[in-house]
Symmetry: none
DNA sequence: GAGTAGTGTTACAGTTTTGTTAAATGTTTA
DNA sequence: TAAACATTTAACAAAACTGTAACACTACTC
């Protein structure tokens, strides 16, 4: 259920505060301090929701909004604007340029949280058919199924999560620590060798015929999904 | 674009003002001055959007909201609350009870209009299928009947709701929490194991012959309607 | 009022999944 | 090449998860 939220906010303290609180609520958080960077990161990461500060040093919020709403790949990501107090004009413009909601600074975090939840609740059914494909491997996040060469393979929960995470950025090498944090959870305390064992199990599970292993070991660094 | 907007507002002058302005914008407008009437009219007319005053003589806005959001037929109609100034608490409650947005009185009409447009733009045309068919399973939402291989099977209310929800997106895996929220209701407090028991009962009920179970268990995740 | 259907909870058994350990295997370095 | 280091794998016991029967309770029906 953990949704991914992208925060565009140039004021460091606010950004930190938002990140801290959102992560405490179990959201995955990415952020950027300027518009240009935000645009490319958003297209790369495809978050589930965007918190967008209206006043930015380079691009204005309205420009970002318009830009995002004209890009097929990201136009359905809901945007909540954060505006300075009393900028009536801006709110109207913002909503007209495609933002889904706005909040006036200063705002209470519970209120923001309620808005975010309301938004995600409404939007989530739209996010159907999340399928990720890499080579002959397909992960269907909605049905929670994995296919290799169009044949379904059965994975245990951990194996599924592990693969699901690895496939989001194929070829990228993740350390055991990163995998533990992302797949197992930060708090949990598990030997780092455990990752190895699960990697082995995952390898066996997705190894239809005696073809390539599909998971690369990078000595003294970690693993990546790759042939 | 003529959408149909329903206004629930007990203060006559405001209602008149809203109606006048909305109609000038080309919307079709219906309205009601009290909660009870509103509920039945909304279910009858199925508007595209609801403007809901938070302070009403009989039912409170929050009650209306909850009521509407638990009624399958109207729960997807977006609601914009109109709250008195500074009722922070109310906003949060409102959004949590299912409202999509709110506006604080006094508000400017352009702003309201922008909100309405943003909301309508976002909301997908709700497909209210009267009959949903998946494989040899048919759910008739109007008659509240379920057929398997054209033979009627009798389900209890909960089982019906459960199946009705599962069939809206076959193959999609729902967690026990999601099922509790959607089928039982958010506020209600029920053990999550209860879902298991009802799944078992539903399985037995729709299992005409000794064929496939039609409901898949996804260990550590939830259930999906699937063979 | 007794009888019935529908619900929610609990307990138990059976199964799957998981983390750990230790030995085996592989790779780099001096 | 040997020593040092890193990864793979099998085995096993513990933990987690699920299915279902049994039971209690409620709300209705006749």
């Amino acid at each position: 259920m953990s949704a991914h939220i992208f925060v565009v906010e140039d004021e460091k303290p606010i950004q930190t505060l938002l990140r801290y609180n959102l992560e405490k609520e179990g959201f995955k958080v990415s952020s950027s301090e300027n518009g240009e960077e935000a645009l490319s990161l958003i297209k790369e990461k495809k978050p589930d929701l965007i918190l967008l500060d209206w006043m930015l040093p380079d691009l204005s919020g309205i420009k970002i909004c318009q830009y995002l709403k004209h890009d097929k790949k990201v136009k359905d990501i809901p945007i909540i604007m954060l505006t300075a107090k009393g900028e009536e004009e801006d709110k109207v413009k913002g909503l007209e340029s495609g933002a889904e909601d706005y909040l006036t600074k200063p705002f209470s975090f519970p209120e923001l949280l309620a808005r975010i939840k309301a938004m995600l609740r409404r939007v989530k059914p739209t996010v159907v058919n999340e399928e990720i494909i890499y080579l002959d491997l397909k992960v269907d996040r909605v049905a929670m199924k994995v296919y290799r060469q169009n044949k379904e393979v059965s994975l245990g929960p951990k194996e599924f999560k592990l693969l699901d995470f690895l496939i989001t950025q194929p070829k990228r090498v993740y350390s055991r620590e990163q995998l533990l944090e992302q797949v197992w959870g930060e708090d949990i305390n598990v030997e780092s060798r455990t990752v190895d064992v699960h990697i082995t199990r995952l390898r066996q599970a997705i190894n239809i015929d005696g073809s390539k292993p599909l998971i690369r070991t990078v000595r003294s660094a970690g693993y990546s999904l790759e042939n």
